[in-house]
């Protein structure tokens, strides 16, 4: 059995503080019951489930968190937020992780690359919400 030694220094603590600041939630309220992941409509499509991602935030593993697809699969349906027994706005944590990436000058979706055909076909409600979630 091999172990991975984790660093928990200033960088890690800063990452946690920033996520808490953006989301307005206390990350350590989570006691890892897993109810968010159990009720998530998208758990099967995520490489890390929601509670796993929260655990990584709790231990400040910035790189692993930002590399996950979890926050980009989340569609903010808020099922987790209304069910959390610790009353954490879990979806806000996912939004905070997205925002953290986007605020470092990063676009998850490049609007100019969407075809004109698609733009004509798609409802504006889908486009506006997508751009609000995936561009900084």
């Amino acid at each position: 059995m091999s172990y991975e030694y984790l660093k928990f220094g200033k960088e890690e603590k800063d990452f946690i503080a920033k996520i808490e600041e953006i989301s307005g939630e206390n990350i350590y309220s989570c006691y890892q019951c897993g109810k968010c992941s159990a009720g998530c409509a998208f758990s099967d499509k995520m490489d890390r489930t929601v509670n796993q991602l929260i655990h990584l935030i709790q231990i400040g593993q910035k790189e692993k968190v930002l590399k996950s697809n979890t926050q980009w699969i989340c569609s903010s349906c808020l099922t987790c937020s209304v069910r959390c027994p610790r009353e954490i706005d879990v979806a806000a944590l996912m939004e905070a992780v997205r925002e953290y990436s986007l605020r470092e000058d990063y676009e998850k979706i490049i609007i100019s690359e969407i075809s004109k055909e698609a733009l004509d076909k798609l409802p504006n409600i889908a486009l506006v919400s997508n751009f609000r979630k995936k561009t900084g």
């Binding site: 600041e21 349906c77 099922t79 905070a96 409600i125 997508n130």
Partner: protein
């Protein structure tokens, strides 16, 4: 007749025209007329979940401020803005709640609105049209207006996320809602309960991750069909588009056999209340509901009454 200040939101003017036109027609019939705001802007569709981004909160407040001005020109109108789209409803409600609690945010937003000589004083309430139907009109009055009971339609309500989440914006119990159920029954249709009534359809992922939406829609439709539904009823233009369009795409690839049509709740009301078929804009649908309605004799024949 009570008049309500009605905020349409962007989609009701493009691919959900049937939703709007049927809602306005029905609203006149039940004495709660929806009058469109003369000037309005996009509410932003999704509420920002961040605690520090004030810019994304300006648009909804601008809508509320404009609606307040609009009310002064209406008859017997309460301080309420009525929405049809469930995403607008939730965005407006959440931000309205936030500024009611936090004067500091409101001041910052009002500072931005000053340029357009607008200001908001937290004296508005946001209502979804379903809330008006349930709380003000009542199902009894709705059934009285039914001239063409929807016999033969087996309808499964699909709420989507934004009608029931989050706590501050929900219009009904988040785990056991009954507003669409009661409405469907009051129109004379058969109710089919599906466990996936709020299983997210994939929402805005339709733009760049269509496979996610496809897999969600397949589950939602299968669950309803397995229980005998021959139609779905929704209140969200994005749910409607996703379920409708994805079913058509899957039917082409023969992943899904016999797709079922998706109705807005106001379309069902309009059909049941004998409004002209053309206001439903069924040609905007991907799965045309007309063959089913004709087969059941709900449209296209002279009524005995």
């Amino acid at each position: 007749m009570v008049q309500y200040s009605y905020f349409p939101g962007c989609n009701l003017k493009t691919n959900a025209k049937g939703f709007e036109e049927t809602a306005i027609a029905v609203s006149k019939k039940i004495d709660a007329e929806l009058v469109e705001m003369p000037i309005w802007n996009c509410c932003g569709t999704v509420h920002t979940l961040t605690s520090d981004n004030i810019m994304k909160r300006i648009a909804p407040i601008r809508v509320l401020s404009r609606s307040k001005k609009h009310i002064e020109t209406l008859k017997e109108s309460p301080n309420q803005v009525v929405t049809l789209c469930s995403m607008c409803n939730s965005t407006l409600k959440i931000v309205n709640n936030e500024v009611k609690k936090d004067q500091e945010i409101l001041d910052k937003i009002n500072y931005q609105l000053e340029e357009d000589e607008e200001t908001y004083e937290t004296d508005m309430e946001v209502k979804h049209f379903l809330e008006i139907l349930r709380d003000i009109i009542g199902y009894e009055k709705i059934s009285e207006k039914v001239v063409n009971p929807l016999e033969g339609l087996k309808i499964s309500p699909y709420y989507g996320c934004m009608l029931l989440h989050p706590e501050e914006a929900k219009i009904d119990d988040e785990e056991m809602p009954d507003v669409l159920e009661s409405l469907v029954e009051s129109l004379g249709a058969e109710l089919v309960m599906s466990p996936l009534f709020k299983f997210c359809c994939g929402s805005f992922h339709i733009v760049d991750q269509e496979d996610i939406v496809a897999s969600q829609v397949e589950k939602i439709v299968e669950a309803a069909k397995r229980r005998g539904a021959n139609a779905l009823v929704v209140a969200c233009p994005l749910c409607a588009y996703n379920i409708d369009q994805q079913q058509e795409a899957m039917a082409k690839n023969s992943v899904v056999k016999s797709p079922i049509p998706v109705f807005y709740f106001t379309q069902l009301m309009a059909i049941a209340m004998g409004e002209p078929v053309k206001i439903n804009h069924f040609n905007d649908h991907f799965i045309n509901p007309e063959p089913l309605l004709k087969e059941l004799g709900l449209i296209g024949r002279k009524k005995a009454k």
